[in-house]
Amino acid sequence: MSRQDHIREFAAQALSEGRVDYFIGWKEGFNPSEVIPAFVKEVAQVDQLLWNPLCHHNLVTFLKRNMPDPPEAKIGVCVKGCDSRTLVALLQEQLVDRERLYVVGVPCDGIMDRRRLEKEFAEEIVDIAFSEKGQVVVTTRSGEKREFDQQAVLLDMCTRCRYPNPLYADDMAGPAVPEPDREESQPDWSDLADYEALSDDGKQELLARIYATCVRCFACINVCPVCVCWDRCVNRSRQPELVSQKVETKSNLLFQMVHMFHVAGRCPSCGACDRACPVEIPLYLLHRKMNKELYDMFGFEPGTKLDEKPVFQVFNLADQFGD
């Protein structure tokens, strides 16, 4: 039984037994190259649900404050490994009600970097198909077809994944995938190496270029599953005006730093913000770095243990920081 079949079966069961008001999974978007979040309310619709390496959306986003509709809805949701860590982060702080959730874990082999594929073509991609042999076949609107090795076009973060299997789930869609021995191995932060090798001025120049592009659409913040302030985001506040409403490089960067500091210790770098940014700002440079430093400081990986608290809401007398 494929993972997709498992998901459909779990969804159908939960819906038919009335355990959930709706079930969130993934389905095909406006063409087969696009996958979008699916909100299934009836058993008859479960066949929409699919599972493939395009299912990048972190559906935990739809559980956070003010998202469930109606607010007290009982919700079924699919989570990948990285998604589950954001769910754990929310559960650590009781920011979602466990009792109203039904979680289907989906072990994951890695998600496509669709944007990288888009850049391979001037034209629009209308179909992405997956062969048994780990090949990806991409078709454009005018019919051009090209094959890629699936492993070569994964999201960069997926190639460094330490948690491919969901850490929290009520049911699991099929067997676990192999995962690294986390006792033995350290997280791989080499994606930051190029940036970190830059001089201070080099970093500032690069940031100036990157953040000139930001349009303050709030996609990064609103899509962020652990960012729960939503309509009350301090980035919108004019009193106090911590971040100027002026859209310019400095305040754009500060805007993003506000987000980073507010999710510090709770963000597991699921990458939802990177993928949502309409102007493709490499936000991973900030959240991955933050997580690298938190790992260095505390040996802490956000959202991995249910009984843990985010590191900035607790302290340890024995902390060895400062002089």
Partner: protein, 414 residues
């Protein structure tokens, strides 16, 4: 007006000529992203990728513009009789004497204002007919149409802008310009339209502005008169392109249907995956909402406006904290209703040119076509369990936050 031909290899020379006496804005690729930018900074014009990530809207209606600076000039206060208070700065005009009982006025505070309106002459090259229609549709709201507000900032810039559009040879599956009255080779608002044919572009000069912008290129010989075969090929290209654009919904009765579906629960279903960000409005060629901010530091300040969007939870929030559009679904409904109902009602024009950017760039690919197919169609029969058309607002207000306000309030938008 004239129809010219531009050989492909002459394109750089044309751009150089255009940039000579105006700011030239072109779609260019940087870090893999196509955005409109100043030609001097990125000289490779990108016409292969159909649509720049964002529309060229910001070049006429910037995301953030300071249009007023002010300064409080602090003269000295009224002199006191009391010598002990010490400070008696020189060169201060004595204040008007205030009535003995009232609090002393603050005569030493005057304000100086300086209004700013930069409208450099500019040419936007390489935009698409839908982008141009974005401007044309937006012109009404800023241009005083129907006796409403005239925005000097927008109009000065619009006036100084020449739009040289390029026909879409290969429309995307997300394009729906024809459904909203446009075309991949639409000429509305276009100053000159370039259509790519074998060996170059057929250039249709459509307005005096277009003619003026291209005059230098004509006299320098970059542009020759187009041949009949070239013109004919251009017509074929246009026809073929038009055929590739889907017509995913009908405008017929859309206003009435949106009105009838105002309190329909399906708004909630459609927006379940919406994250209420502003991406769709910020990539849109004609979403024009803005916000005004003052900033004051010590005695100097400025007033600037920035783009705003109806998905912003604070968009309609009142000072009291009450928000008539408290729920995401209320805000979601606004965007579509505004474009296809409220705006048309007030300005007699749609507010959508069918570029499809909102579909392509929405983080969850919310599809305006789907929304209009569902909500722009006649209300569902009551048997399907949707309380809407027949029993409007009052009946469903108990269960549906969408119904919190009446349609007429919404209709006053913009």
């Amino acid at each position: 007006m004239a129809t010219k031909f531009l050989a492909s290899e002459q394109l750089p020379a044309l751009l150089e000529a255009l940039a000579r006496d105006a700011r030239l804005v072109i779609p260019a690729k940087s870090d893999g992203l196509v955005q409109f930018d100043i030609w001097e900074l990125r000289k490779e014009v990108e016409l292969q990728v159909l649509l720049a990530r964002q529309s060229p809207k910001e070049w006429v209606f910037p995301q953030c513009e300071t249009y007023l600076r002010f300064e409080y000039a602090m003269a000295a206060p009224e002199e006191t009789q009391d010598g002990a208070s010490g400070v008696a700065p020189a060169g201060v005009a004595p204040a008007e004497s205030a009535p003995a009982q009232a609090a002393p006025a603050i005569p030493h505070e005057t304000i100086q204002l300086e209004s700013l309106n930069e409208a450099p002459r500019q040419v936007i090259f390489g935009l698409r007919p839908c982008d141009v229609r974005g401007f044309v549709q937006m012109d009404r709201v800023f241009g005083g149409y129907g006796g409403f507000y005239f925005d000097p900032l927008y109009n000065a810039r619009r006036e100084a802008t020449t739009l040289l559009a390029v026909t879409c040879r290969e429309p995307r599956s997300t394009c729906f310009c024809t459904a909203v009255g446009g075309s991949p080779a639409g000429q509305e608002g276009v100053d000159a339209l370039l259509t790519e044919v074998g060996g170059g572009f057929v250039v249709e000069v459509l307005t005096a502005k277009g003619e003026a912008a291209l005059a230098a290129a004509v006299s320098a010989g970059f542009l020759s008169d187009a041949g009949e075969a070239q013109v004919a090929e251009a017509v074929r290209v246009k026809t073929a392109a038009s055929a590739k654009v889907d017509s995913p919904f009908t405008l017929e009765g859309i206003r009435e249907n949106l009105r009838a579906n105002f309190a329909d629960d399906r708004w909630h279903d459609l927006c379940l995956r919406c994250i209420s960000c502003g991406t769709c409005t910020y990539v849109c060629p004609n979403c024009y909402c803005f916000n005004i901010n003052d900033s004051l530091v010590e005695t100097e300040g400025e007033r600037y406006r920035t783009w705003d969007n109806c998905f912003n939870p604070q968009y309609t929030e009142e000072t009291s904290g009450h928000n008539p559009r408290a729920h995401k679904a209320n805000r979601f409904r606004n965007r579509f209703s505004h474009k296809f109902w409220y705006y048309p009602e007030k300005y007699e024009s749609l507010l959508c040119s069918g570029c499809g950017r909102c579909i392509m760039h929405c983080p969850t690919r919310i599809d305006i076509r789907e929304v209009l197919r569902v909500m722009g169609a006649p209300a569902a029969a009551p048997s399907e369990g949707v309380a809407a058309a027949a029993a409007p607002a009052a009946a469903s207000s108990a269960t549906s936050p969408v119904a919190d306000q009446s349609a007429s309030t919404e209709g006053k938008e913009a």
